[in-house]
């Protein structure tokens, strides 16, 4: 039939402003009909030179800059930089401040996964789940707002502690949220998990083998979906994570569906951690720690700190010369960067609709890629 017919590949420019590239990522897709032959990500549209900006700020001033590093989980960005400087300067953080940090980090992880849940459903064409998950995310943002006055860029976790204590109405509000969050996640699951259309769109799509994932440095939920049980909260504990009991969910196929299941389970685990922290914090003497001043100069040295963010390993490398108030070098590492790098391997030979599904399941966010 096709004899004598000439077909040719054509290029589609997906992005930089496209509804489902989660920011401003651009893909140059070489396509044969609906099938992807080659995909080439082009990054840099959201580059703000954050590392260089940090090198021209005092250590305390770097924290608000870090907020912009990965704005879906600003708390993690604050935490990772504070950890690095504290490690370098040998600053002790009071126990109470550590509890507040863990509560905020885990709430932020839930909020981040809720964004992921909504946008994933949206990318697959289901609009309603997006509104549902943003409804619960709103409760978390309200809690952040009553604590630090901000809803997106918190500047809350500082070097040496946290910026202020939680208000008295925080704990009741948080308990109320934790009492309902499991039912809400059940609601999310009812909408997608067993949905035959959702399953047929996600099962065996974008299979990421553990070898490939490790070779590309994929981390976080995307790595655990491929069967590698690696979570920095357990394997390289920071803060006070060793005091809490929580499971590390794991799946084995590494397809989009497993990455979905992992993140849904992680939301429940994070809620579990917050529940324990809320119970334990009442016995701790309130002390939010002493924050460093503008003239703070750590001793000469270099340090790399890393934490488990909702999008994989988030790390920051800080180098100090010991005689200035500013860091000599700041290098940031985001999980999304590696997840985006593995994309061209995963999308070879799939349909254009799968590109969107795979990208959504890897949970890539562009500010973290471009910095």
């Amino acid at each position: 039939m096709t004899e004598g017919l000439r077909t040719e590949e054509f290029q589609v420019n997906m992005g930089p402003h496209h509804p489902s590239t989660h920011g401003v990522c651009r893909f140059i897709l070489t396509m044969d009909g609906e099938v992807i032959v080659r995909a080439e990500p082009v990054i840099g549209y959201l580059h703000r030179s954050l590392e260089k900006i940090c090198e021209n700020r005092t250590y305390a001033q770097c924290i608000p800059v870090m907020d912009r590093f990965e704005y879906c989980t600003s708390m993690s960005c604050n935490e990772v930089f504070s950890l690095a400087v504290e490690k370098m300067a040998g600053i002790e953080v009071p126990e109470y401040a550590e509890y507040l940090r863990v509560i905020m980090l885990e709430l932020n992880r839930i909020a981040s996964h809720m964004i992921w849940y909504g946008t994933t459903a949206l990318d697959l064409g289901a609009i309603t789940p997006f509104l549902y998950s943003f409804r619960e995310r709103e409760d978390i943002l309200d809690m952040f707002e009553m604590t630090c006055g901000q809803r997106l860029t918190y500047n809350y976790i500082r070097i040496g502690g946290v910026s202020r204590d939680i208000p008295p109405e925080f704990i009741p509000k948080c308990k109320e949220f934790l009492a309902t969050v499991d039912h809400k996640i059940d609601d999310y699951e009812r909408m997608l998990t067993e949905n035959p259309i959702f399953m047929v769109r996600n099962k065996d799509v974008g299979n990421l083998s553990p070898e490939l994932a490790i070779a590309y440095g994929v981390s976080g939920p995307s790595l655990r979906a491929s069967g590698v049980k690696y979570d920095l909260r357990r394997d390289d504990p920071y803060s006070i994570y060793d005091r809490f009991k929580f499971d590390i969910p794991i799946c084995h196929n590494g397809d989009c569906y497993d990455r979905y299941v992992i993140r849904i389970k992680e939301m429940r685990e994070s809620a579990k951690i917050v529940r324990q922290a809320i119970e334990q914090i009442v016995d701790v003497e309130p002390n939010t720690g002493k924050m460093v001043k503008a003239n703070f100069k750590p001793a000469k040295g270099e340090v790399y700190s890393r934490i488990e963010n909702s999008r994989g390993e988030m790390g920051v490398y800080v180098q100090s010369t010991g005689d200035t108030k500013k860091p000599l070098r700041v290098k940031m590492r985001g999980g999304s960067f590696n997840q985006l790098q593995v994309m061209p391997e995963l999308v070879k030979g799939v349909k254009i609709a799968d590109v969107v599904a795979i990208m959504a399941s890897l949970d890539i966010i562009l500010p973290e890629v471009d910095r």
Partner: protein
Amino acid sequence: MELIGIFEYLYEQLVATGIPQVWVDLISLVVSAVIIFGILALIALFLVWWERKLSADFQQRMGPMLTGWHGLLQTIADAIKLIQKEDITPTKVDRPVFYWAPIICFVAAFAVYVTVPFGKGLIVSDLNIGILYIVAITTFTIISLLMAGWGSNNKYALLGGMRSAAQVVSYEVPMIVAILSVVLFAGSLSMVDIVESQALIYQWYIFRMPFGPIAFVIYIIAATAETNRTPFDLPEAEQELVAGFNIEYSGMKFAMFFLAEFINMFTVSAIGATLFLGGWQGPFLPSWAWFLIKTFGLVFVFMWFRWTYPRLRVDQLMEFSWKFLLPLAFANLILAGWMKYSGWFNW
């Protein structure tokens, strides 16, 4: 009351006044076209508002609230805005194709209503090939989508146009086979005859066990695909193709596609109500009210799908049609034929 269409009734009245035959033809044509167009434009505006309100209910939002009572005038405000918009024609488009695509889409959507019985006697023309006419006219929509996709000189639009052509062609077949089983029982292609053959509730084709419900489900699935709605809204998949075939259209041309889409949804619901749910048959209420209740009930089902389901992928869509729906539809047709032949449940 004997059944007479609006068209015939007007025609007789005009002939009685004694004006020349040409004028009689012309006036009666224009009048019935204007009546149908007016009713449908109102319905389309209402459907747009209803969809927004329903989606808001599903998503725990308010929806439009400010323009009129509960935002009832919102669609009219939107329409006025769209008329005022600049009508952009991008360079290098295939001008005649680009220009005619929305018009064909719009006209095809309205032309269907020549043979749709809105109530007892409320039909423009009771053609003896009514359902065949409807199937033929709705197929015109594909041509317009292909034209829009091709003429726009845009890769996303082209992909959208190609997808819609492939999709509508493959879902047309099971849909027609499902309709055929009803036609087989009614023994007529005329819409009025089909409605009259289901005068009592147990005679509705959806209740004719076992072929009726199967045919109805096949029809609903195929009709969802036919009207490009979730979970089969691939031609305009926002997350993949940005807007699909209508990506380059703006202003009134876009509004034409948009309205035609809602009219098409009403069309498939009206046909579904007529073929399977007894059309305008029902007790107490006037016949047009029963027709509207049933049709809007089906419209609600389509909207419900849209705000609940994710979208299928293009190859899964094709597989579902050719490997599952079509064999099922044919098996069902054979079953219906055997039922008709043996006189089983043949009331």
